[in-house]
Symmetry: C2
């Protein structure tokens, strides 16, 4: 028997199973009410539009092109369409600034690969998107806590990175309805981040996966838009914007995008050429077909559905949560973040919850690069109807009340 | 203007433009006869079968599943179908041994990521598949020349690797109708490679991208099949088999696969989870749909077409090449490898050829990890009809005759 472990590179030791994805397997049991997911509601997918798109591509003059190899930077009409959309949110750019990836998770992997050498430091919030930590981990960085209040000096970040044996390589932030907290960073926070990045002379990775899913309140300009406004030209900026069609159209096609200054886009294109040649040609064409014909209508449909579910979950939390439990009030996205009284443990609670109340959620510790956050948990409202949400949260409230009495 | 170069990891310095892909852009000029490509003939794609596949998936009960996130290991019915196909070529395995990747190029990237630390040694042939070198380069290895004659001792490999600052991590080989040479390693050569790998205690990466495209001669068992025969069980083997649907069904969907011992498959699944979650769900379903209904018929159609083109190119080479030029006689695949008289330079010849004779090919140097092979070139016969092949090779012969006179 070959001993594989001895053959692996050191980076492989940090490739571990995702708690969330392992959990998802468990949660296919029909008797469980799950707020664990974080996936879009499949009932909202524009199935007919995709059926028409694939049929049109494969019946038309582009059929052979859709099945053939294509360029690493991505399908030009899709990049053009995206450049137009970006312009609407303050990101003036051309197709030269747009790069297609196989889902925005691949974008995060490529950015880790491009910037991180072992022992370099990535700045992330506590908590942050677990998938970002997993993607970056392959490149063996250390993490330092990104403080958006402006209360930490650039020198303090530099000193911590030097102590870890490297230097600060980038700041990663999901600024809108973040996974897992649902929170949005305000304009002042974004501007402070840009100042910090200028002072540290590092890129900013803006994860915009949920940005189009705003249900109320006023949109805050993307970090990249603020930087373009300041510096006059996208090619003078340091912010790398990562977008996705997974939450708006469908994740199963694996089509996402990166928008940034042309020099970094060109390097990413070379990286992709070596890593997987290009993203699926036919899927890029299908996404372009559906997006050109009905992106706004599809987003409107999703917003209506999800905002009602968010409202139902916030109302149920208000009604059923015992004292000492707090939660975020997101203006969009798919998640609400719950903080339990100090000393309570989300993972222990999940085990009990699945056993007694049959309600699932994700314990919050995995989202913390330093292993803190044991008393937090993530709830997703994207895949349950209002009645199920009320029932599930009431059960969770009952469990938390019982725990409190037992403590 | 942000200075991107100072922010990149050291590995980024080895991410350079692919000569072949840059060349491909140039060769869209309709006045050029191109033997440069290496892509499948789009006229042979099973367009109707794919149209039916996407329509069926999106009209059936699996429609939402096709558009949704799915598991990192790949679509189970496709993995089951592949396990069945593998059994037919001596690779007894189950779906647990099969992992779906976004094209076999991604498989090579993942294997480089899994095994290579900077300064480790990868054993490759001189010449080898350029895309493999590009994929591995991101992980900063050195290369040593894999000698299949058995004339080099394990200690010699170990010593060279230690001198480079690391150890030998794997041997990579395309054993059937290799890109770029078109040559096939015989059974004795494969067995010597397995012995060497046992002695060095390293994995073997078997790139089988062209394996189904045999036009004549007798099939040699895959390296993995020979090792299973010897060791009794795929889970006891060290060979990692990389396959692709790109040369048989279509490359535009980006669906390939890795077949290997379960422990290494499980690690690759974790890697993929972090790197891009999974390959496109709907494309895996479409490939399974088309493969289950007509894989063998499609392969038979391609073999008939390509073998006639290979015959045409071999006949034309025989007719038009001047003395001192030699070439391989492949039993399959897409490529013929030409060796020019020593001292001639393939890149210089290409520049002249495009200017005067309007014939394109790929100079062979890029396929050599040590920068040798200047007097070699790769011809592809996959995309031209017999008359065009005769015309193109006759022009190339005229050019080579002129060069010889000038020398």
């Amino acid at each position: 028997m070959f001993k594989w472990e001895q053959a692996f590179a050191t980076r492989a030791s940090r490739m571990k199973a995702s708690e969330i994805r392992e959990l998802l397997k468990l949660l296919e049991r029909p008797d469980i009410i799950s707020f664990a997911g974080g996936i879009p509601d499949p009932a909202l997918f524009p199935k007919e539009a995709f059926a028409a798109a694939y049929a049109d591509v494969l019946a038309g003059e582009n059929a052979a092109a859709g099945l053939q190899y294509s360029v690493s930077e991505g399908y030009k009409p899709l990049r053009d369409w995206l450049a137009g959309e970006m312009g609407k949110i303050g990101i003036s750019c051309t197709a030269e600034n747009v790069f297609i990836v196989s889902g925005s998770q691949q974008g995060l992997d490529y950015l880790g690969k491009l910037f991180l050498s072992p022992k370099d430091t990535a700045l992330v919030t506590w908590p942050t998107y677990l998938g970002a930590l997993q993607a970056f981990n392959a490149y063996e960085p250390t993490y330092d806590r990104l403080n958006l209040s402006g209360n930490r000096t650039p020198d303090a970040y530099r000193a911590t990175a030097a102590e870890a044996g490297g230097r600060v390589k980038f700041a990663y932030l999901s600024a809108d309805f973040a996974n897992p907290t649902g929170e949005t960073v305000d304009r002042a926070g974004r501007e402070r981040l840009l100042s910090l990045a200028d002072e540290l002379d590092i890129p900013v990775i803006e994860d915009a996966a949920y940005q189009s899913l705003r249900y109320d309140g006023e949109a805050v300009p993307p970090i990249l838009a603020l930087e373009i406004a300041e510096k006059g030209d996208i090619d003078a900026t340091r912010t790398i914007y990562c977008g996705s069609f997974s939450k708006t159209l469908a994740p199963g096609l694996r089509v996402g995008y990166i928008v940034a200054a042309a020099p970094v886009i060109r390097k990413l294109v070379l990286m992709k050429q070596a890593a997987d040649l290009h993203s699926s040609t036919i899927n890029q064409m299908a996404i372009a077909h559906v997006a050109e014909r009905g992106f706004d209508a599809q987003v409107a449909k999703i917003r209506t559905a999800y905002s009602a579910r968010r409202d139902a979950m916030l109302a149920a939390l208000q009604k059923y949560m015992p004292e000492g439990v707090s939660w975020t009030k997101p203006e969009g996205g798919m998640f609400i973040w719950v903080t339990l009284p100090a000393g309570m443990d989300g993972a222990t609670l999940l085990a009990r919850s699945i056993e007694t109340e049959k309600v699932a959620f994700v314990p919050g510790q995995a989202f913390h690069a330093d292993g803190s956050g044991a008393n937090t948990l993530r709830l997703s409202f994207s895949c349950a109807d209002a009645a199920t949400i009320e029932e599930g949260i009431s059960r969770l409230g009952r469990l938390l009340n019982a725990e409190r009495l037992a403590a």
